[in-house]
């Protein structure tokens, strides 16, 4: 779950990381008043959950408060990579002598936190690593043994930084390592960390991601930062269809019938489970089919859940038929899904045999499930028909459909 820059900085402030003067502006007047308090040149930065702000024109500079309202109006409506701005951060703009890069993340291969440091900050770190590998250090550290500042010192010194700069950078970098572990972050990044011409070191820009699964442990922090419990902070805002999908999954605690993602095709998909859904979605596309949605069912959902999910997908404008498909199931019961899906069709006023293009869920309780489908004349197949072939049957039926 990504934090806005101003939230990341509020978290840094709690830990006394050095920050420039500044404040969040939610109106054009506020932008001017924050700038007035700062005094001198300022930078206005769109608060948006995406990188690439500078390129999009969502970062502007002003000599003083007078220009700020107009710049605020310019920046706020700009969407960066499909993300809308929430507010504008107004901060002091001071002459920078040097920029550093600091980032802490997880290394899934070593299963350890890893600290990346470079004395060539401000630009794309992957480019620096490629062209100037001696200016980037990569240091793994333990998540259970006590950590001390020497890890940060060694990482910084490895890039050739020495003298007073090394001693000033060490506590800042060490604090970021501690913040990373304390708040279950998946990323804690400061880029750039600037040395100003007046000798101060300050965090110019920062970016923090908290693991969604750990939100429950950090309720106090999230409340303090004003992060709402329903904010998903995904790559794009959820659609009304996706929000309705989440509600379906919440009807009871039995199994999963959710993770609905909207697409603009005509073939509704009632698919599962985690890996099976990815496999089936690919298969439908490979056959030239146009999925109306992605979803996942699994963990033995109730009849009600399967029924409500079916109704939701059938209610989506443009959906002509649905394909009900899963890998060989072990824990989910075929008969329960069959009953739920058939019920969903009937309650939507559709004939299951017309609207279900194919039913391919083999596995536990399949005989009972297939009996139900036979009764309603729905075409089904067992494990002798592959997931890929089943997707092909569904897509073929769409070709024959007249709308």
């Amino acid at each position: 779950m990504r934090f806005y820059e101003y939230e990341s900085k509020a978290l840094f402030a709690r830990h006394r990381l050095p920050l420039g003067k500044g404040g969040v502006a939610r109106s054009r007047e506020e932008a001017a008043s924050v700038a007035r308090e700062i005094g001198g040149p300022v930078v206005l930065k769109s608060q948006v959950l995406s990188g690439g702000r500078m390129k999009a024109g969502a970062v502007k500079f002003a000599d003083g408060p007078d220009e700020c309202p107009a710049l605020f109006d310019q920046i706020l409506p700009i969407e960066v990579n499909g993300q809308k701005a929430r507010s504008v951060l107004v901060e002091e703009k001071s002459p920078v002598a040097q920029e550093y890069f600091v980032s802490v993340t997880w290394d899934g291969r070593r299963k350890l936190p890893v600290l990346l440091f470079s004395d060539m900050g401000g630009i794309d770190i992957e480019e620096v690593a490629e062209k100037h590998p001696e200016h980037v250090s990569k240091t793994h550290f333990s998540s259970i043994l006590p950590i001390t500042p020497r890890i940060a010192k060694e990482a910084i010194a490895a890039t050739g930084v020495s003298g007073g700069h090394l001693n000033k950078l060490t506590p800042i970098v060490f604090e970021l390592m501690k913040i990373f572990l304390e708040y279950d972050l998946t990323l804690a990044e400061v880029n750039p960390l600037a040395r100003l011409e007046d000798g101060r070191f300050i965090v110019l820009d920062g970016h923090v991601d908290m693991e969604a699964e750990a939100r429950g442990r950090h309720k106090a922090l999230l409340a303090e930062l004003g992060v709402g419990e329903d904010e998903t902070r995904q790559a794009r805002e959820p659609t009304a269809f996706e929000i309705a999908g989440r509600k379906v999954n919440e009807v009871d605690h039995r199994g999963v019938a959710g993770n609905v993602v909207e697409f603009d095709g005509n073939l509704g998909l009632v698919i599962g489970a985690g890996g099976g859904s990815l496999t089936l979605f690919d298969a439908v596309r490979k056959h030239g089919g146009k999925p109306a949605n992605y979803c996942e069912i699994g963990g033995n959902p109730s009849v009600t859940k399967a029924c409500e999910l079916t109704k939701l997908i059938l209610s989506k404008p443009g959906v002509e038929k649905i394909a009900v498909m899963m890998n060989v199931v072990s824990n989910t019961r075929v008969d329960i899904v069959a009953r739920g899906v058939v019920k969903g069709c009937l309650e939507s006023g559709k004939d299951p045999k017309d609207v279900i293009a194919i039913f391919r869920i083999p596995g536990s309780w399949e005989d009972e499930g297939f009996k139900i489908l036979e009764k309603y004349g729905v075409e089904y197949c067992d494990r002798s028909i592959s997931m890929y072939e089943a997707a092909g049957k569904a897509v073929a039926k769409m070709g024959g459909a007249t709308s």
Partner: protein, 304 residues
């Protein structure tokens, strides 16, 4: 032989009185598992299908002697402590079925496991099966379904999806290819044991002749496997199936498992496929191509 577990592996279940764990107990017992005890704090003295319940892992060990394995099926917030308890009581292999465990908890338990010489499989997995020997976890479901999909043989399976482990096994079985050991390694960003970490075990297992893997977008696990295969000149032909190809165009969106997200170029399926193919791993477009690809690779080897 098989890897990780045999019919003699004695294990316990942490969180045994939970709804899912009760099913697990039934299914594993029916498949012949040696479940010596279960743990649910405060529920000592009860039993689940005849398996005695204790408050602590140390009580199980005290009552039954050496226990090799444990299945952890407790709510996400309690997984780390359950893992620490298992490892500190001498358990050598722990299968974590729980979903939604924060990765710091997993990483911390993995570090402790390394210090103590233990191994973690999962989280967010269905466990391990060596057909006709034993299973440890929900893989394959009820024993009758498990026997239908899995047959003893010479193919190892490693999969980031529990359900797809069974789909692949079922496809291999239908084609007359049995399995040595199948491991559902888990769908999270950090898992206890990766493909590359299982490879030395399969490599050393005389029964295993080839490997089938199921993989997805996200993470560096496939790159790690490709490097391992090249560096160790593996004797085992590997056939991989890559799901989620559509996600390459959908940066930042999370589909399927928690570990499945495309953030950078290295997370994409096209990049992973290229790396695996460069290491000599065959990549199947469809699950049903796996048996033929394996046979082709095995025959070619026979000709040399």
């Amino acid at each position: 032989m098989s890897i990780l577990i045999t019919k003699d592996t004695r294990f316990l279940i942490q969180g045994i009185t939970g709804r899912e764990a009760v099913n697990l107990t039934r299914e594993n017992l029916d498949y012949g598992a040696q479940i010596v005890g279960g743990v649910t704090p405060g529920r000592a003295g009860r039993d689940v299908y005849g398996v005695p319940v204790y408050d602590c892992v140390s009580d199980v060990v005290a009552a039954h002697g050496k226990v090799q394995g444990s299945i952890v099926s407790v709510p996400p917030a309690f997984v780390k402590d359950a893992l620490f308890e298992a490892i500190e009581n001498g358990i050598e292999i722990v299968v974590v079925v729980t979903e939604n465990v924060p990765r710091k908890d997993v990483a911390q338990a993995v570090e402790l496991a390394r210090l103590r010489g233990a191994r973690i499989i999962g989280p967010n997995c269905l466990g391990i099966i060596s057909p006709d020997e034993a299973k440890m976890g929900g893989v394959g479901g009820p024993a009758a379904n498990t026997r239908q999909a899995y047959k003893k043989g010479n193919i190892g399976i490693m999969s980031r999806s529990g359900g797809m482990t069974t789909e692949i096994a079922s496809t291999l079985t239908a084609a007359g290819l049995g399995q040595s050991t199948c491991v559902s390694i888990g769908g999270d960003a950090i898992v206890g044991t990766t493909y590359a970490e299982l490879m030395p075990l399969f490599e050393a297992d005389a029964e295993t002749e080839a490997i089938a893997i199921y993989s997805e977008p996200g993470g560096r696990m496939e790159a790690e496997l490709a490097e391992w295969v090249k560096a160790n000149d593996s004797r085992l032909p590997i056939v991989a199936f890559m799901a989620g190809r559509f996600m390459d165009e959908m940066k930042g969106m999370r589909f399927g498992h928690a570990g499945t997200i495309v953030e950078g170029k290295e997370d994409t399926t096209s990049e992973k496929i290229a790396r695996m193919e460069a290491a000599g791993i065959s990549v199947a477009e469809r699950i049903e191509e796996i048996p033929d690809l394996i046979r082709k690779r095995l025959n070619r080897k026979g000709e040399n």
